[in-house]
């Protein structure tokens, strides 16, 4: 101990490892006096400006406060109050970005100065030595003093410590470049600082007071020496200029040779350090009863015309300080650093207020600081390790930080890093080392928090498990006793039989449900056929189909597979309502069901019914609706089946697809289909070829296409494919095409729907609406338009499914091709989009040339596009 004092008295100091010598740039501000206080228009006073916890806010919005009045009251020992820097009114209390590296928003009190600067009553203290020790500490606490060097540790905690303090070290090193606030304060107010030091001596009774100051502040050194000339136990220790000399541990090491243990505090080794500005504030607080409401801030940088030191009221927005010094920086390339260039942080906005720890506001010019170098690979040059004041290995830390190896980072003593930035300063690879460390530290802290949480959660979970286990055992015990009691009771009476019968009844109910479901599915298939004729059946079937979509689909599939031949028959049946037609329908329905489980059933039914209707029965029904159309449709259908049964199968497929696709609108679709059929008949009336086409169109886009194809075997296949493709790809155009189709078929369709009212009122309505939509060239009726629209919508929505379904349906229906083809085609056409129909029309129409109408042309185009796009799929589907 004595040897240390001897060395100090001989001005022989120690060295700490590392350190750098960045350009000091203190000349910018150290030759000008401190500019007197300048109050801004609005003060933004953060509630918390120190390390610890904020106090409770004492004021409300609209309150008038006096200068020095405390705005918050400390609620814990780690809290210090904040005060009103001047008199005025509280404008609001809200979140605002504060002086924090992350740009956090914190609660701030907005104070509007009234210009009177009226003090609250003060009690000046002539002689602090007459005060009680606890009174002095209370004064320091009430004055809201926290460390002004950077960390902001509440001062009253530091000074309220046990005796046996060896060294009170006053930190006047101010090692950061640019900053001269303490320097100027020492020059201008050395007496007040000395008062503060004396108060601290009075409180702490140290063996020796050391004022550590770098040798680049000769005038401050002179001033301090003059002020302390007659005091023996205060030593002015002039140390070499080296960053980070002002670091607490570094300065202690340099002055006393003592190393503060990692994780320890200086007080544990009998050392207390205070910043000079804090000493000044202590003197002000104890002697003048002036709380900490203002401080010296260095506003510097080559981006300013008049860099200087300024007395700034706490809460002054940085913008006001910068404007006092006339920034020359363009507004769009502004950088403001709070703190020095080594450890300061950039501000996101310039309304951040000055707080108790703000010693510098730096506005660099663009070339001044090296801001835009990009990081390259570390070459392990080791310069970072050479300058590290904590003697760490920054390059190894960097690798581990990048690898997120937290254990290794801890082993490398990451938490002894003081963020001084010396390593990053010298790094020739421009690696932002400190940034990596900060992230790693945050991650490790986060991880540790999570570990603690996980531990607690685990404990809770295990406790719960134990509790549940206990409860379960208790319950089982209870049940066991209860069952024993029951058994005994049952043996005594016949109550048991009653209970059994109840269970049996429940089982029976469940079975009944299942049975119904299956039955319904079966019905749906058959119903589809019947529905074609009887509309009443179709809704029921549809409902059933919805309910049991999956099952129905499976069943349908099986039936389809079995009775491909039947399928065509069903198509025929559709017309005649014969059982074969039922088979086909059932197949179709099955396909639909598969594809569109919920709505598939309905769609199938509709399609099946529609197609058959169109072909033969459809004609009959249609005939009821419109004889002419029916006739045409019949003709078409007849011709189609005759021409190629394959076409029928395709049509059936198409119909199935349509049914799938338009499950929701199946009812409508059905109506549409009917309409389309009728439409088809109508065109057929006009032109046999057209009728075929129209029928195809009517059935469904894809279906129709297929149907047409069926009439012309290859053409049918193609059409089906085309229709599917069209439906998928050209939803929009489908409408148009459907319109076209509608146009051609409009007359007939309209008639059909009307007549088909029996078929499905919904379908009719839809078809009607579609017909309306489409402006059919000549005979187009509103019904057609509606149908077209519906078809288009359906096509859009269920394009994919339709294709698949159509494929399946076609395969299934192939057998039925002959009769069913036409029908299925019709139904498909309905389902599919009118576009498809149009296309099929073109393709179908052997008569197409005759039909050389616009609609046909459009159809032809669409068909071509569809054919191109989906040729493969169609082929596959067909093959299937």
């Amino acid at each position: 101990m004595q040897s240390i004092i001897n060395r100090i008295e001989n001005n022989q100091f120690w060295k700490f490892h590392g350190g750098i010598h960045p350009p000091e740039q203190k000349f910018l501000t150290n030759s000008k006096p401190i500019k007197p206080l300048h109050l801004p228009e609005l003060l933004i006073i953060p509630v918390q400006q120190h390390i610890g916890v904020p106090g409770d806010i004492l004021v409300n919005i609209g309150d008038t406060v006096l200068k020095g009045q405390s705005l918050t009251a400390p609620t814990s020992p780690m809290a210090v109050p904040v005060h009103a820097p001047t008199s005025g009114t509280i404008e609001k209390i809200a979140l605002h970005v504060t002086a924090h590296p992350s740009g956090l928003s914190e609660l701030c009190i907005f104070l509007k100065p009234d210009g009177q600067d009226k003090w609250r009553p003060r009690e000046l203290c002539e002689d602090y030595k007459t005060l009680d020790r606890s009174d002095i500490i209370r004064k320091i606490t009430d004055a809201g003093i926290s460390g002004m060097g950077g960390a902001g540790f509440p001062t009253h905690i530091k000074v309220d410590s046990k005796p046996n303090i060896d060294f009170l070290i006053i930190n006047a090193a101010e090692c950061e470049p640019y900053i001269t606030a303490d320097d100027l304060l020492m020059r201008e107010h050395s007496a007040t600082i000395l008062d503060g030091i004396n108060i601290l001596r009075h409180l702490l009774i140290p063996r020796l007071v050391l004022i550590g100051i770098e040798d680049n502040k000769p005038e401050a050194i002179e001033a301090l020496k003059k002020a302390t000339a007659d005091i023996n136990d205060i030593h002015i220790c002039v140390v070499p200029t080296k960053y980070p000399m002002g670091g607490e541990k570094q300065l202690i090491k340099a002055l006393t040779g003592k190393e503060i243990a990692s994780g320890g505090l200086p007080i544990q080794q009998g050392i207390i350090m205070q910043n000079v500005a804090t000493c000044y504030a202590i003197a002000d607080a104890v002697i003048n009863d002036k709380p900490l409401i203002e401080r010296v801030v260095t506003v510097s940088g080559q981006g300013l015309e008049k860099p200087q030191n300024i007395w700034a009221a706490l809460g002054t927005p940085v913008r006001d300080l910068v404007s006092l010094c006339h920034s020359t920086q363009p507004a769009d390339k502004k950088a403001i650093i709070m703190g020095g260039p080594m450890m300061g942080f950039t501000l996101p906005i310039d309304t951040v207020p000055v707080v108790k720890t703000t010693n510098c506001v730096l506005v660099p010019s663009e070339k001044e600081l090296n801001l835009h170098n990009t990081e390259v690979e570390c070459i392990r040059c080791g310069q970072c390790a050479e300058v590290c004041p904590s003697n760490l290995l920054p390059q190894e830390l960097q690798w581990s930080a990048k690898a997120k190896d937290h254990d290794k980072l801890k082993a490398l003593n990451l938490f002894d890093c003081i963020d001084c930035g010396a390593c990053a300063y010298v790094c020739p690879s421009h690696i932002p080392l400190v940034q990596y460390y900060r992230i790693a530290k945050a991650e490790i802290r986060q991880q540790e928090l999570q570990d603690i949480k996980a531990e607690k959660a685990k404990a809770r979970f295990e406790a719960r498990k134990a509790r549940l286990e206990r409860e379960r055992k208790a319950r089982e015990e209870k049940q066991r006793k209860a069952s024993e009691a029951r058994r005994a009771a049952m043996n005594n009476s016949q109550e048991g039989t009653n209970a059994k019968s109840a269970v049996a009844a429940a089982l029976a109910r469940v079975k009944a449900k299942k049975a119904q479901d299956t039955g319904v599915s079966a019905e749906t298939s058959t119903e589809a056929t019947t529905e074609v004729k009887t509309e009443t059946l179709s809704p029921v079937q549809a409902a059933i189909a919805r309910a049991k979509a999956k099952k129905a689909a499976q069943a349908a599939q099986s039936t389809e597979l079995n009775g491909d031949n039947k399928a065509p028959e069903t198509g025929a049946n559709a017309g005649a309502d014969a059982t074969p037609s039922d088979d086909k329908q059932s197949k179709v329905a099955a396909a639909v069901a598969r594809a569109k489980a919920k709505k598939a059933a309905k769609a199938k039914q509709e399609a099946a019914s529609q197609t058959p209707e169109e072909n033969v029965p459809a004609e009959q029904t249609l005939a009821g609706q419109s004889s002419a159309e029916q006739e045409k449709a019949e003709e078409q259908m007849n011709t189609a089946p005759k021409e190629k049964p394959a076409a029928d199968s395709k049509q059936a497929k198409v119909a199935a697809a349509v049914a799938k696709a338009k499950a929701r609108k199946q009812a409508k679709a059905k109506a549409e289909q009917a309409e389309s059929i009728t439409e088809g008949s109508a065109p057929s009336q006009d032109e046999p070829e057209k009728t075929d086409v129209t029928s195809a169109e009517v059935t469904a886009k894809t279906d129709a296409a297929e149907a047409i194809e069926t009439t012309e075997a290859p053409a049918n296949d193609k059409k089906a494919k085309i229709a599917a493709a069209i439906a998928k790809a050209k939803a929009k155009k489908a409408k148009q095409s459907s319109n076209d189709l509608d146009e051609s078929t409009d007359d007939s369709t309209i008639e059909n729907p009307l007549k088909e009212g029996t078929v499905e009122s919904k379908a009719n309505s839809t078809t009607d609406s579609s017909a309306e939509d489409s402006d059919t060239a000549s005979e187009v009726k509103p019904a057609n338009d509606k149908k077209a629209k519906v078809a288009a919508a359906i096509a859009k929505a269920k394009a994919k499914k339709a294709v698949q379904a159509s494929n399946a349906g076609s395969s299934e229906v192939d057998d039925t091709m002959e009769k069913a083809d036409a029908k299925s085609v019709n139904s498909e056409a309905d389902v599919a989009e009118t576009e498809v129909n149009a296309e099929p029309l073109n393709g179908n129409d052997q008569s197409a040339p005759a039909v050389s109408s616009i609609s046909q042309q459009k159809k032809a185009r669409i068909a071509a596009a569809v054919a191109k796009a989906k040729a493969k799929k169609q082929q596959q589907a067909e093959s299937n």
Partner: protein, 364 residues
Amino acid sequence: MAFWIASSPHNHIQKETSALMRLVIFATIPGILAQWYFFGWGNIIHIGLATATALLCEFFVLSLRKKPIKAELLDGSAILTAILLAICLPAVAPWWISVLGAMFAIAVVKQLYGGLGHNPFNPAMAAYVMLLISFPVEMTTWLPPRELWPVEYTFMDTVWMIFTESTQLGYSAEQLRTHIDGYTMATPLDTLKTGLTTGLSVSEVTTSPVFGDYFASGWEWVNAGFLLGGIILLAKKAIHWAAPVSFLAMLWLCSLIGYMVSPDLNPSTLFYWFSGATMLGAFFILTDPVSGATSFKGRLVFGALAGLLVYLIRNFGGYPDAVAFAVLLCNMAAPLIDVYTRPRTFGHQTHGLGVAGNKQGAKK
């Protein structure tokens, strides 16, 4: 208003890796000039060949790896590697020696391991060793210094020699190496090794003209040139003094011991310093930060180990010079050396060795 946001520190010393590389490249100039003076144009031609190859390889691999080509290609590290490799080659080695070596150094030793900063071995030395082992004849065809050349040997002769393996007049490399007295001249180190194995004493061997007036005719000046370059680098603080100093000190110490034990079988200490690739290795190879040790103590150990290995291989190994082998062996040891030479962190009582068992030790 766009405020510029960044993490501290906002200041930088304004040094760059590429500037460091450039400085090292410039520091090789004295040694290269000495080489040119004593051994002709060969090495300079090889430097050109190797540099071009290295840059091409670097460009190719960087494009494959989708790295920023301009920045990394021009950081100087590939050029430095090529120069260091070419310096080590015999002046009459055929052109494909330097091309192959540069390709191996850049593509395999450097980039396959992850590029600059990630290569565990010194690329130039690894390439040199590869060439020496693969092409021993070409790699040991050393010319004697200029004053011992039996025939005139011009720049064009050198070009012819490198690309056609004979001079314009048809002399082969072997003929260039033949002394007027009819024996083939080798490097001083080789001559010494051969002589000692045939039972001659050091003083008898060193009467050979290849030893010249001092230690090793020509070679001593080449080494002096690299020593000068190294001193420049030290003065500029581009390299740390620990590794070269400990390397030279260890080599000096070993040779001193050997000389004192058996002066007939061991040449002088300064012969070790000024022959072969000693100075090049000390200041340009061992100071490669990427493949060397990083801490101060680690560098001391690293350099000393290299010095010891050079001495052992030169005296007891199969090769006359040993810097390349010693450097590669030390590269292998560098990570371990680093682990065991970690400095004591400020505020900690014990050294923070990264070994598992030391964690507890640090807490005591």
